[in-house]
């Protein structure tokens, strides 16, 4: 099936972000006519690898060869011109144009500057037929389902004469029917001589359609299977690796008899309105939410806090109902939320550390609506000291601080009010290793003071370091939970990836 020479070849590709290896010395060859799946857990480096291949990122080390020539792409346009197209997780179509307009975007056929609609449509028709779409090129993209949009994206990539087609989690939002149609198309394209690179979390799809599978873990290439070597167990084993038992923190709390503080009953989130969620977090307990990206953990936290509208269910704090969809009273009741995107949702970047870290507390200690300036200043100074915010300059703009210090400011905003419930969404994302340890210690202190902590963490290793109990979320449902003593990275990943059932039945995914 494969030609003698690989069309695309990576040698020693490496990339670091803020000193952390996202990718270390990866060697992979891709051949025309072959479907290669790249799999791994969250943060294993798949996206980084794809971004390098597609010209979004430049590697810190190593080389990429295209048809035997060493290439270094200056950007996506460069890569596209060379015949490498990336179809992104988030679709990149212009909603206000029709299919033909999207396919021709940026290189529209024209006559004296006027659009040549007929040429545009006939060219588009050729490509959409090739991807098996039974649609008029004049259909508006906004009327199409996500699955069909994906097909249009692929048609667009093909129209750019792509020799290598990279699909980044193409099925993450597709229904089963759409998924099987997409997989069939991928096979057809490979037979026509396109090299397809396929990134996914879904093992069934890998087993179905990949000629070859490359497994990444912690940025390194840990295994490679051909189609006949591949089994589910081998795949999961390679993705998970061995467990670092010794790295588990000794400071974990053992008190499991304390009373339930945060109780979630029958909660239905907007993202997964058919999956009921029941959850209890005891006083002083740190519960980790594990799961793949898009499993519904963020939506769960946001629904508890009230920034996301709940479809149904109740949240109780110390036995009393917390009003839904109302972050104002949730915060007043002592529920704190550290959002995933701190730059957008956590901070006022142009304001100072003082303004940011005191914004919740000033309201609690105000007298007749007036801010107590002295109390504010001493409170902020105390938090800067306690949280080791560096540099310790309360009037400095938050935007000028490092990621770790910014996150500490978000934490300071809430911890200064001694919350009873602390909801954390990826609390150490984009935070360096030192600050991460300090943030963990602060979270543990809050729990020891009696707070119930519920945190969503994608990094399984970190989850095991920080939490007392792990709850695994998959496709909006709670797939299982384990006490930290019984939890292993492998068990967590297995639950997160294949679920608690026999693993062969793929559950229904809402389109």
């Amino acid at each position: 099936m494969t030609d003698a020479a690989p069309i695309l070849r990576c040698r020693g590709l490496g990339k670091r972000f803020a000193g952390v290896h996202a990718l270390r010395s990866v060697d992979i060859d891709f051949y025309a006519g072959e479907v290669v799946a790249v799999v791994g857990a969250n943060g294993a480096g798949m996206s980084t690898l794809m971004k390098i291949l597609a010209g979004v990122l430049t590697p810190d080390s190593g080389e990429v060869f295209l048809s035997g020539q060493s290439v270094r792409f200056a950007g996506v346009r460069d890569a596209v011109r060379a015949g490498i197209a990336l179809v992104h997780q988030e679709l990149n179509l212009a909603d206000n144009l029709d299919i033909a307009g999207n396919i021709a975007l940026g290189r529209e056929p024209n006559r004296f500057g006027f659009l040549d609609r007929q040429a545009m449509q006939s060219q588009a028709r050729e490509w959409i037929e090739r991807v098996g779409l039974d649609l008029s090129p004049a259909s508006d993209v906004s009327t199409l389902s996500i699955g069909r949009r994906q097909m249009v994206e692929i048609a667009k990539a093909l129209s750019l004469r792509a020799k290598v087609l990279i699909l980044d989690e193409p099925t993450s939002s597709l229904s089963m029917g759409e998924t099987s149609r997409l997989l069939a198309l991928i096979r057809t394209l490979a037979n026509q001589g396109v090299a397809v690179v396929y990134i996914t979390h879904r093992l069934n799809e890998v087993l179905d359609c990949a000629d070859r599978t490359v497994v990444l873990r912690d940025g390194a290439q840990v295994a490679e299977f051909t189609r006949d070597q591949l089994t589910r167990d081998k795949l999961v084993g390679a993705m998970v690796g061995t467990i670092h038992e010794s790295q588990r923190a000794e400071m974990q709390s053992t008190d499991t008899k304390s009373k339930a503080r945060l109780v979630v009953r029958g909660l239905l989130t907007q993202a997964h309105p058919k999956s009921t969620i029941n959850l209890t977090v005891r006083k002083g307990e740190i519960v980790g939410l594990a799961g793949l990206v898009g499993a519904g953990r963020t939506e769960l936290l946001q629904s508890i806090f009230g920034v996301d509208r709940r479809v149904g269910g109740d949240v109780f704090l110390d036995g009393q109902v917390v009003a839904p969809n109302d972050p104002v009273t949730a915060a007043r009741r002592g529920i704190a939320m550290v959002p995933e995107d701190r730059q957008r949702d956590g901070l006022m970047l142009e304001d100072s550390v003082r303004i940011n870290s005191s914004v919740v507390k000033i309201a609690r200690e105000a007298i007749a609506g007036f801010i107590r300036r002295g109390a504010e200043r001493t409170g902020v100074a105390r938090m800067i000291d306690l949280m080791k915010i560096h540099p310790a300059l309360p009037e400095r703009q938050v935007a000028l601080f490092s990621g770790g210090n910014q996150q500490k400011v978000v934490l300071a905003k809430w911890l200064s009010t001694e919350p009873s419930v602390l909801l954390l969404d990826e609390p150490s994302r984009g935070v360096d290793v030192g600050a991460r340890a300090e943030i963990h210690a602060l979270i543990r202190q809050a729990a020891n003071r009696g707070a119930s902590v519920l945190c969503s963490i994608s990094d399984t290793e970190e989850l095991l370091l920080l939490c007392d109990r792990v709850v695994v979320v998959r496709e909006g449902r709670i797939e299982g939970e384990m006490n930290i003593a019984d939890a292993t990275e492998e068990a967590i990943t297995r639950l997160a990836v294949v679920g608690s059932g026999d693993g062969t039945s793929q559950s229904e995914v809402a389109a």
């Binding site: 972050p327 104002v328 949730a330 949702d345 901070l347 006022m348 303004i355 914004v359 000033i362 007036f370």
Partner: protein, 328 residues
């Protein structure tokens, strides 16, 4: 403080230039007039500043000024209401206008530009309808009420010059606004909402109520401004009373350091901004070789230059802060 220095500098340069170019500029009579106009437009500017602070805009000010300004003499003379009843009604009406517009923006999630553009048309239309498009005046009565707009407060020992009464209102409103913005929780929240509505929401700040409060204060000050304006001029025509006042107010706020993207601005800056506008309008009248018809062009140009200069200074400061941060 630094923000005010820029606009204060521009103000001084313009004042010095105009006083050299026209001998009639620095006369007691002219200064008194300038102070009165600055106070009136300053009140509108402070009002719209609250809305701009939350990253919104209020275009309805001219309409509210017109409605309040027309209804005041109308209720007094045509309907025979007492001054107390009239003033209370005007202020209550202004508050309701603000609550409604703010509610549409905050809960209806409609862009403030649209809501208040419709408001601009609706309130002027209402004013013209209620008064049947007839000019309204005080018929020489109600001089006690009119004092708040056209009164003069003499300074002991100074013969030629008195302080226009609206300056008192401006002073009180400015002080209260500064206290609100700098010393109260709601003032802090208002800035937070303007900086990042999302971060404000995630901090448990009642974003919608904060927004509604901003529109309410703005409309209240616009209504009060309309009352002062009509008390000052004595009679008004529904078809043009308050025309473009929203734009003068917004221009004053922007000149005074408010950013349309929200989160930033100072009350003192707006007052100086309003003064700059009035001095410019005055200069066009006083300086003989400047044709009066060029008024809008000159004002527009000066605002543009002011905003550009401000933007360049800001970028320069931001760059410097960034390089300094890297150095440490």
């Amino acid at each position: 403080m630094k923000k005010i220095l820029g606009i204060a500098g521009i103000f001084l340069v313009i004042v010095i230039a105009v006083s050299i170019l026209s001998p009639n500029f620095l006369t007691a009579y002219n200064i008194e007039n300038l102070l009165r106009r600055t106070a009136l437009f300053g009140i509108l500017g402070i009002g719209v500043g609250f809305v701009i602070l939350t990253a919104g805009i209020d275009l309805s000010i001219g309409g509210v000024v017109c409605l309040a300004g027309m209804l005041t003499p109308y209720l007094l003379t045509q309907m025979g209401w007492s001054p107390t009843e009239t003033v209370a009604t005007i202020l209550l009406m202004s508050v309701s206008i603000g609550v409604m517009q703010g509610g549409l923006v905050a809960y209806g999630r409609i862009q403030s530009f649209l809501v208040t553009l419709c408001g601009l048309l609706i309130f002027r239309g209402l004013a013209r309808g209620i008064t049947m498009d007839q000019t309204q005046g005080f018929q020489g009565k109600f001089t006690e009420l009119r004092w708040i707009g056209n009164g003069r407060i003499s300074i002991p020992g100074v013969e030629a010059f008195s302080v226009p009464a609206p300056v008192l209102s401006l002073f009180a409103i400015a002080i209260l606004s500064m206290i609100f913005l700098n010393c109260t929780v709601w003032g802090r929240w208002m800035k937070a909402v303007g900086r990042s509505p999302s971060a404000a929401r995630y901090s448990g700040i009642p974003v919608a109520r904060v927004q509604i409060l901003a529109y309410t204060i703005c409309s209240l000050l616009a209504g009060f401004g309309g009352l002062l304006f009509v008390c000052d001029v004595g009679s008004a025509q529904p078809s043009d009373f308050g025309n473009f006042y929203e734009l003068y107010a917004i221009a004053a706020a922007v000149l005074g350091g408010y950013r349309l993207s929200g989160g930033e601005g100072s009350v003192v800056g707006v007052i100086i901004g309003a003064a700059v506008m009035q001095v410019l309008r005055n200069a066009i009248v006083l300086i003989s070789w400047l044709p009066d018809t060029a008024e809008f062009a000159v004002i527009g140009l000066v605002i543009l230059i002011g905003v550009l200069a401000d933007e360049f200074l800001r970028r320069y400061a931001a760059n410097r802060a960034r390089t300094q941060a890297k150095g440490t």
